[in-house]
């Protein structure tokens, strides 16, 4: 990332080439994520059929020219449903992770900067959140409040706040003691200004790495909840929901479960590679090797 921000020297494209060559894994991961994200965003234009259109004559059809990935038990086109299914997954997971970064990041930053009782209470609350297994907490929240997009986002946000608070707090504690923060205070800068302009940039790297890894976790949680039957209600296509329907027909038509599984695997692999690559690129211990 530091490379991207460097002064304009050689052309943009040759710089981009250098960055991609240096961080092959991250670049490949980013490409996989972009591929799946774009196909979900462009689903209305890419899908050969309406994802909700049923055709009893085509029940559980094998892959064919008209339905490249086959049809499900209602005769719906699987390719279209996989493309549309990404929309719910990505909407829920990106919103949840964004909210968790804002809430968790702010809590961690404030706890680290203010310290004292506020710090102790905030971090104790985070410990309580961490005491519930991610999936079980998600199950409970969605089951009690109802399986809507908003409740899914709420459930996943709740599971991700504590890790972001922790990751924001630790570097804040360290940076707070540095001379430039002291200097800022001596110059009479407000605490808000010090936190946002002087401390925040120092923790952005770690938050970005965490964000891509937690995006993967969020996608997994959403898919798991849908698989158990607590996702967005049918007939709206979701990857987890499609795998659930496929699992019910696993003996007759295994491809029902396979194709949405592949979609999840590709984006998860992409996000994990991106996160790993970003970490290697930003970890000072590994940077100069």
């Amino acid at each position: 990332m530091t490379v991207l921000a460097s002064a304009p020297g050689p052309g943009f494209w040759s710089q981009l080439r250098t960055v991609i060559l240096r961080h092959k894994i991250a670049a490949l991961g980013g490409a996989l994520v972009a591929l799946v994200a774009l196909s979900a965003i462009l689903a209305p234009w890419l899908s050969p059929h309406d994802p909700l259109e049923q055709n009893v004559l085509l029940r559980l059809g094998a892959p064919s020219a008209d339905n490249p990935l086959g049809t499900d038990s209602f005769g719906r086109d699987i390719l279209s449903r996989v493309l549309w299914g990404g929309r719910v997954s990505l909407l829920v997971s990106t919103s949840a992770v964004a909210l968790a970064i804002v809430i968790g990041g702010a809590l961690g930053l404030l706890a680290g900067y203010i310290g004292g009782t506020f710090d102790r209470i905030t971090m104790a609350a985070m410990d309580v959140l961490l005491s519930f297994p991610t999936l079980v907490m998600g199950l409970l929240v969605v089951a009690m409040l109802g399986p809507t997009v908003a409740n899914l986002i709420l459930a996943i946000t709740l599971t991700a706040i504590a890790p972001f608070a922790r990751i924001a707090r630790a570097p804040t504690l360290a940076v707070k003691e540095r001379d430039f923060v002291e200097a800022g205070r001596a110059l009479g800068f407000s605490s808000l200004r010090i936190m946002i302009i002087h401390i925040l940039p120092n923790i952005v790297d770690e938050i970005l790495v965490m964000a891509s890894l937690w995006l993967a976790t969020a996608i997994r949680t959403e898919a798991s909840l849908s698989f158990i039957g607590l996702g967005v209600r049918p007939p709206t296509p979701t990857w987890g929901g499609m795998i659930r329907e496929g699992f019910e027909n696993i003996l007759d038509s295994p491809w029902l479960a396979i194709f949405p599984s592949l979609a999840i695997l590709v984006i998860m692999l992409g996000l994990n590679m991106l996160g790993d690559g970003l970490r290697d690129a930003t970890d000072p211990r590994l940077r100069h090797e």
Partner: protein, 313 residues
């Protein structure tokens, strides 16, 4: 050591109390009426009111809260709304299934993951390292229910090596073991990915330290440097990951039990959710949370065992 243990125990008490409070209020605030669950939609207002009275739901919230805390402190988690059995006895009935599954998975994860991570770190950027890293990235990318379905499809449905329903016949250890194999492999392989990754990166950090160079310069054999000098210092981050992985392991075991149709805590909680069995949910949340808090405590205590410096802080 004793003082350290006592201090850590005392820190866990407020967390546990807060956990109980969160569970209690969450279940009370959520919409839905337990009396309706028991009596069904047809019940008269009068019957519903008397059932609420019987369940203590007509009491002020504060009274209910104190009663709840008192019960939990006496080890009583209430009675299931659906089966009328005590929550604790329902849990104990299926606990051996979940425990055997998760403990086997943990063992697979550590026994395979630790050496793999160490070997990968020794051959950094070599073929073995790339293969191991590719495996671990793939393992991290598999939602447990997806890998479970693929294992089921390949080894139970196509090859018939293992039973499709992983319950096992009661009193037949061989059939129980066969039933355990696929679910444990599913959880274990994902765990290998986590442990391997943590072991590799932690070893890489330690291998760059001065004392490792000193040991090598003294002529200590490479085997001893790796397994004695480096490993012990590299172990703490690995223990941390295993501890943190517990939450994931519990979630994954729920999914694995659902796919393999295996009895256990996972199926218990999914059934309780479907039947809106509030007391069962409340009890299971408490058990899960206590379990995690206790394992975190054990993780902390393990640090003290591995690294004597931790105790003195």
């Amino acid at each position: 050591m004793l003082a350290y243990i006592v201090k850590r125990l005392l820190v866990a008490v407020p967390t546990l109390l807060a956990v109980l409070t969160v569970v209690f209020f969450f279940v009370r605030i959520a919409p839905g009426d337990p009396a309706l669950v028991i009596l069904g939609d047809q019940a008269s207002q009068q019957a519903l009111a008397s059932m609420r009275h019987q369940l203590g739901l007509d009491q002020p919230l504060a009274v209910q809260y104190v009663d709840f805390l008192g019960m939990v402190l006496h080890g009583d988690l209430g009675t299931s709304l659906v089966t009328k059995q005590s929550v604790w006895s329902e849990v104990v009935k299926v606990l051996p299934f979940t425990l055997s599954l998760t403990v086997t998975a943990l063992a697979i994860g550590v026994v395979l993951g630790l050496p793999l991570g160490i070997i990968a770190s020794r051959h950094r950027n070599g073929v073995i390292d790339y293969a191991a890293r590719f495996f671990s990235l793939t393992g991290l990318s598999f939602p447990a229910f997806v890998s479970a379905i693929l294992l089921l499809l390949a080894f139970a449905i196509e090859l018939h090596w293992f039973p499709v329903i992983s319950e096992g016949r009661a009193g037949d250890p061989l059939s129980s073991l066969r039933a355990l194999a696929l679910p444990a492999l599913n959880l274990g392989l994902i765990m290998v990915a986590y442990v391997m990754r943590a072991a590799r990166s932690s070893m890489l950090g330690v291998l760059g330290e001065d004392y490792i160079r000193t040991a090598r310069a003294k002529g200590v054999p490479a085997r001893v440097v790796i397994w004695r000098h480096a490993l012990r210092n590299a172990l703490i981050p690995v223990v941390t990951v295993v501890g943190l992985y517990l939450g994931v392991l519990i979630g994954n075991s729920v999914l694995t039990e659902v796919v393999f149709n295996r009895p256990g805590l996972g199926k218990l909680i999914v059934n309780a959710l479907n039947q809106r069995d509030y007391t069962m949910l409340e009890g299971m949340m408490v058990i899960y949370a206590f379990f995690i808090v206790i394992v975190n405590l054990l993780t902390d205590l393990t640090y003290g065992l591995i690294d004597p410096r931790v105790k003195r802080q």
